[in-house]
């Protein structure tokens, strides 16, 4: 299986405090992976590093063999944990931006998804509800034909119907040549779409595996396993 992301000894310190601590991880092609951990475990730091927004203090990180830089960014589609577009922009203008910035942006696909959601491309972002703004951002992220999708807390703070929509979008856009990394602490909501999980704690990978294999071996859901593993650890 082709390795899409490889982190070796990856470390990030903020004023001496490690957010990522000698982290080693390999993500393979065609998988949907949950990056799971309590608040402050390093999920967002890791994702931002893979997206090229933060530089490591030490260690190495490659995307499809490329070091983080323009070449890796061209292959990575990143959904931040908050909306980042100017509220003054119309949805069509955002589509133009994505078309200009990313060669792999499939505009017709984005338009189809917006139509299915009943979002008027002529609307300005500020006239849309917060939930709809988040959906627009997800549509743009998933409309790139990337090798790696990084979704930081895509289901935090949305209602159950929107959550279903988001999970369906991830499933419908599944591409066997791409990998999707979803960070969240709402495990029970995402676990049925995951192939694999990675438990992060204090900047380290403390457990990882195949979702169905864990259910088979332990008779527990990922959510139950998560509660059990993190119950015993301090500062959770």
């Amino acid at each position: 299986m082709d390795c899409v992301l490889r982190a070796t000894g990856l470390t990030k310190r903020y004023h001496g405090n490690p957010a990522l601590d000698n982290l080693n991880l390999e993500l393979n092609q065609g998988r949907i992976i949950g990056l799971l951990g309590p608040n402050g475990s390093g999920k967002t730091t890791f994702i931002k590093m893979a997206a090229g927004l933060l530089t490591p203090t030490a260690g190495e990180l490659t995307i499809c063999g490329e070091k983080i830089g323009p070449a890796s960014k061209a292959m990575v589609s990143y959904l931040p944990d908050r909306t980042c577009f100017s509220k003054q922009r119309k949805v069509t203008e955002l589509l133009d931006f994505f078309g200009d910035f990313y060669q792999d942006f499939d505009r017709s696909r984005a338009e189809q998804m917006l139509t299915a959601l009943g979002i008027d491309p002529g609307a300005r972002m500020r006239t849309l509800s917060k939930g709809t703004q988040e959906k627009v951002q997800l549509v743009l992220t998933m409309s790139r034909r990337a090798r790696l999708y990084l979704l930081d807390e895509p289901i935090g703070g949305v209602d159950p119907a929107a959550r279903d929509y988001i999970l369906n979008t991830i499933i419908n856009n599944y591409d066997p040549s791409a990998t999707v990394l979803i960070s969240t602490h709402l495990i029970s909501d995402v676990e049925r779409v995951l192939d694999e999980f990675v438990f992060l704690y204090q900047g380290k990978v403390i457990q990882k595996g195949e979702a169905d294999a864990v259910r088979e071996e332990t008779g527990k859901s990922l959510d139950e396993l998560f509660r059990e593993v993190f119950k015993c650890l301090p500062n959770c």
């Binding site: 499933i171 169905d212 259910r215 008779g219 139950e224």
Partner: protein
């Protein structure tokens, strides 16, 4: 199909059981076409790899037949269908027996309860 899953058992096994159930109930008739993995995954809201695994396992059991590009169909082989039916019923009986055993009721006592139930129905 009613895609409801328990969190504590492998999803692919639960999908297999749901499909077997639908065949037993006649919702999916022998020889009938099965939607694509992609469509089924979207409908069940599960990972396409998990759905693929369930389909491959059912194919190995002989319950589903791969038709190449035309997709999968349910087998028309009555022997395989009968075997699956027996297996599913045995599993149901096993489950039922275990539930009775929790209350200290033996399968013989449970069978008597079932017979009583049947009799009451007849009298109604």
């Amino acid at each position: 199909m009613n895609w409801k899953f328990a969190g504590d058992r492998p999803l692919y096994q639960q999908i297999m059981a749901l499909i077997r159930g639908a065949i037993l109930r006649g919702e999916l008739p022998p020889g009938g076409k099965i939607p694509s993995v992609r469509d089924l995954a979207a409908e069940a809201q599960v990972n396409p790899n998990t759905m693929q695994r369930a389909m491959t396992e059912l194919e190995r059991e002989g319950l589903l037949v791969s038709g190449g590009t035309s997709g999968r169909t349910i087998t028309e082989d009555s022997e395989i269908l009968e075997e699956m039916r027996d297996g599913a019923l045995r599993e149901l009986a096993q489950e039922c027996a275990e539930k009775f055993m929790v209350f200290g009721i033996t399968p013989t006592q449970a069978a008597q309860l079932l017979l009583n139930l049947e009799k009451e129905r007849e009298e109604m």
